[in-house]
Amino acid sequence: MIPLLDIENLAFHIGDKRILDDLCLTIHDSEIHALLGTNGTGKSTLAYLVMGCEGYQPSGGGIRFKGQAIDNLTMHERAKLGITMAWQEPVRFEGISVRDYLTLKHKERDPSLYIEMVGLSPELYLSRMVDRCLSGGERKRIELASVLALRPKLAVLDEPDSGIDMLSTQDIIHVISLFKQGGSAVLLITHREEIALIADTASQLCRGGIVCSGNPREVADYYKSKKCLACVGEVCDA
């Protein structure tokens, strides 16, 4: 079976600095794949490469989506294929209402449905602007709602739990599970073990490469055991 996302020997360098090197990762339809790793290991860089952000072109290897090479596609072409992304810190927009933001590409969809999915009231939020008046947590939830409303084949979620209070962690877990229920696969970047454990598979990224991959419980334990010495500042032989 052709994987939904197939990353082969991906390398990304900035000047002489290797950010990602020989990275391989596959994600299948409706699979949640958690990506663990300390700060600066290249998790967000990988997300940007999958999404095709400006300035993120592979230095080597490549990314295939449903068997199609996507390295030369623009962001919106990738979005048309069904890839989308929620940034760790979503931007604000002046003059764009939550209602409009949730139906940017699909005017026929009911935004109330998606705003409720992330635990917000349509009456209170749909007419508000996606601007500085929203708190960080509200903005984050609205971003997740907008990604749900796209009904993507692959959603790249870069730390969806950051900026959200601990009491709301269960809400976020619920939202992530909604992606899977709706048929979307998720590349889930997170630092929280309890969130990573809802994934079907997980990988630990370190110094630009996958050092451990498989069952989320095992990967989380491996991560916590600090067997990867690079993660604690030493030469890694994992």
Binding site: T74, V91, I96, K105
Partner: protein
Amino acid sequence: MRELHDLMEALGDAGGDKTILENDEIAHLVASGHKLLSMKSVEGLEVEARETLTGISAKVTVKEGIKIKNPVHLCFGIPHKKGTQQIKMQVKLDKDASAHFIAHCIFPKAEKVRHIMDATVEIGENAEMKYSETHYHGLYGGIEVLPKSVVKVNRNGRYFSEFILIGGRVGTLAIDYAVAAEEDAVAELTAKVFGHGNDVISIRERVTLAGENARGLIKTRVALEDEATAEVTGITEGNAAGARGHVDCLEIVKDSAVAKAIPIINVTNPLAKVTHEAAIGSVDKRQLETLMAHGLTSEEAVDIIVRGVLR
């Protein structure tokens, strides 16, 4: 009444409500060039208007304690290719009065047109005035718009003004507004302009926070494309204890457009506080990428961002 018909048709074409003249509960004043075409008042609103050689001179008073329910519509314009219109307005809101004025300035065929607005406004104690001015210009760019106003907001009065020119070519625009806010008064000035072609935009707004605890905001949003230019000067003076002011300017530039922002903050009382922020640049990269990740092309994304800023 061919001119009245043409002017109202142009208003309708621009998305305005051309039926406002038929409603007995809505006051209005309509002038084409220097011809006074229609006028209606409501209880508590006094309007004295007369034609001058080059335009209209009007004195508008809202009597003490009167709160005008429906917005008062002012329709000014020139439906022809050429002409000059000079409007002199004297507006006074007596104590405890309130009113919302909506000015429609309609120049659909302007090739060589000059529109001059010269207004003095006085807001009485505890009174509130909203003034929304929307321009509908054609595509030729042959228009010169020179709005000037001097506003005094007395104790605990509130003045909110909004100038919008985002449809059609701007031509040459030179806004010159000055507002003085007394004790506990509030003054907010908003301008939103979209320049194209070789449009030339100059916006100069000054808020003087003269009284204790006066509040002021100058908010400017400008988008420019092609070879348009804009210079935005926002001046706020904090001259009394507890006065709070803010100047907020955002300009988005595309193509070969050139934008300049000059925030001027002048505080003469140590208990006053005035802040400013100004940002000029192309469309924010993160905003653009976020919308593209939602499936929009870069052109669609830029359009949505610019329309949002000017909304």
